[in-house]
Amino acid sequence: MASLKALKIRINSVKSTQKITKAMKMVAAAKLRRAQEAAEAGRPYAERMEAVMASLASKVTVGPQASKLLAGTGKQDVHLFVVATSDKGLAGAFNTNIVRLARKQALELQAAGKTVKFYCIGRKGRDQINRYFRGQVVHSVEPGDLGKQVFANAGTVAQDLIARFEAGEFDIAHLFYSKFVSVLTQEPTQQQIIPVPLPESGAVTGAAPVEYEPSEEEILYTLLPRNVAVQLFRATLENAASEQGSKMTAMDNATRNAGDMINKLTIQYNRSRQAAITTELVEIISGAEAL
């Protein structure tokens, strides 16, 4: 049995760990509220964007001159997985869940004879993917604090992606991120971003003819790259909220576990203390009897 002193040190160490996890939980809760608001505030833009894209795409005929971002390259050989994770750990299975979904899809595609490349946003995701798919990560960026993202960052990434697409590095791009459903539920999500997925035909009823200024093609030309940026930005916002939600749950669990551990250790400590006192008494009594 461990000595009394060792037990005492152990208890104190667990107690200070509990204080830290408790503080982290509070911080996550405060950040979560802000991140959740940001994610919810960003949704209308992305939704309207989707609606506009859908109505535009259904009106423009996909011909040989149509932008590749809309029509695709005509091949489906090389897939690029844009995996958005965070730079920091200690958020439960947040990063792992995203990577797991990406990995599953990648293995399926590879089994079908396709090439899969990775474009990682976030350090944690990059590290995990590097372990499974060595040498397949073409580029990675570290976004830093997910709570302080601005639209311009997403724009930079989107431009880089489009440049790579135009250089023929890949045919199809998928985006992986964690969708924020609630504090307790975050859903790893896959979404095709390049080429733009066309809506199911018949969903859009173009009743009134729409006037375009300048022309349909020009609007579409400026809109397509922006759509990629918008989807990326949306993913970042959702990720930020999900990360904090996941972190809060993880830290809550850690605090509770530390509490259980402290109880167990305290019982052990008291038992050993009692045993030591009993032994001492027995020694004194037997010493007195011997006289």
Partner: protein, 84 residues
């Protein structure tokens, strides 16, 4: 007679209200949108959006950067890149 006007940026929904008229800085020139405007889609240059809450009132000016405007039977939606 009201026009439903929405101004959205990637960060948030800036405005969602019923107004009298909105003047939008379109890529090929400013245009005013009243209720019942024909369906239109236009890119926007950087500039000021003037929102006229009432027919005779002074306009509220919002400067925006980039984006596009869509007019449909539900009203006017401006998707701007940023709002100053």
């Amino acid at each position: 007679m009201a026009l439903h006007f929405e101004l959205v940026t990637p960060e948030k929904l800036v405005r969602s209200q019923d107004v009298h008229m909105v003047v939008v800085p379109g890529a090929e020139g400013d245009f005013g949108v009243l209720q019942g405007h024909a369906a239109l889609m236009s890119t926007i240059r950087d500039g000021d959006v003037s929102v006229y809450a009432t027919a005779n009132g002074a306009p509220e000016v919002i400067s925006i950067k980039g984006g596009f405007a869509e007019v449909n039977d539900k009203g006017l939606t401006i998707l701007a890149e940023s709002v100053a």
